[in-house]
Amino acid sequence: MPKSKLTSIEDFKKLLKDDMTIMIGGFMTDGTPEQLIDAVLESGVKNLTLINNDGGYPERGIGKLISNGQVKTLIASHVGLNPTVAKLMNAGALELILVPQGTLAEQIRAKGAGLGGVLTPTGLGTLVQEGKQVIEVDGKKYILEKPMKADLAIVEATYADTFGNGVNIGTTRNFNPLMALAADVVVMGTYEVREPGKVDPSSVTIHGVLVDYLVEIVEA
């Protein structure tokens, strides 16, 4: 039996460094492991590049790290529900890179899947196209979107075994399985740790083989 990946929050903090690029799962904070965000907050690491679907809320999810001034660059599809992002942007204290949500998903997946990129019609003729190769296939144009990677991914599973096989219930899945594929180190927070054999192999949404550390967390 492979070793348990169960780790303490304190040991998780030791993985954090200034200037890291971190992917964080969740969609408007649902599927974001709030306690691990708190740990990043407490660690005080700064100059981070965060990749997340959105900007969370000022007091919830990755928004807390933004509010705390730890984030240099945010890569996201939507930040409309976090006014702090606009405030910091306008003050020149935060760089925002907007990516269409489906493109963000494919770029992360492409890195995880070893692809050199994908061709998408999304964003043709818009600002999204700027600076990118446009490639024609069978008479139709597509934007070449490159893979996106991270030093660390922080993901969530509703429950998981000690090998790191996690299951996301409902809409907490979102970007979590994709980010687990695309980062050098993957830390998974979960609300229930089970012994191997107690997770249905056919229902796993985040695969243990991708997970480096597992942290038991409680709902915020």
Binding site: F27, G31, A105
Partner: protein, 217 residues
């Protein structure tokens, strides 16, 4: 009914039984409440669900939420998935219809709804994929803004969300189809006239042979 209700009710008539539909946040979400008897559509939520029900009041259930982060009920045939699959459905042409609001829409079917440079940058979220991949794109907007300026313009000025992607524009006054020749006025509200609609529309309008009327109550 107010303008939003009129629009939602008229848009509901565009949806067909069994279609897979993605409704944007706000006014578009209201469309589901006006579906005619016998018409049921399947709602997709781009954060990862098919078979979304209604908003749930009370305690937040983080396991089942909509794209706005609010708890929702799920229908018996619901199924969940990750973001890559969600946008495979959207970009891959599996969504029959998407309804979304906008800041600007023009007679070429261009839409701009994700940023105002120097002022407001909420981001495109899933909108760029939705307008690219959905079989039918319906844009909803009040016909004029607070100052009485037309929202249906000749050429979008803001950064575009999608190029020539809109199929139908529905306002509280008119239903307009985007055609290769321009914007075609198909229907007007039962409390207005073709002349009033033309007067309140900056874009050029082609008049359909027969212009229908839709209900405002």
């Amino acid at each position: 009914m107010d303008a939003k209700q009129i629009i939602a009710k008229r848009v509901a008539l565009e949806l067909k039984d069994g279609q897979l539909v993605n409704l944007g946040i706000g006014l578009p979400t209201m469309v589901a409440d006006y579906l005619p008897e016998g018409i049921e559509v399947v709602l997709q939520s781009e954060n990862g669900m098919i078979g979304m029900g209604h908003l749930v009041d009370g305690e937040h259930n983080r396991n089942f939420t909509n794209a706005g982060g609010h708890s929702v009920s799920i229908l018996p045939y619901a199924a969940c998935f990750d973001s890559a699959f969600s946008f495979s459905l959207i970009r891959g042409g599996h969504v029959d219809c998407t309804v979304l609001g906008t800041l600007e829409v023009d007679q070429h079917g261009n839409i701009a709804n994700y940023m105002i440079p120097g002022k407001m940058v909420p981001g495109m979220g899933g909108a760029m994929d939705l307008v690219t991949g959905s079989k039918k794109v319906i844009v909803v907007t009040t016909h004029t803004d607070k100052n009485g300026n037309s929202k249906i313009i000749k050429q979008c000025k803001l950064p575009l969300t999608g190029v020539e992607c809109c199929d139908l524009i529905v306002t509280e006054l008119a239903v307009m189809e985007v055609t290769p020749k321009g914007l075609k006025l198909l229907e007007i509200a039962d409390n207005t006239t073709v002349e009033e609609v033309i007067a309140k529309t900056e874009a050029s309008l082609i008049l359909a042979d027969t212009i229908g009327k839709f209900s405002t109550n």
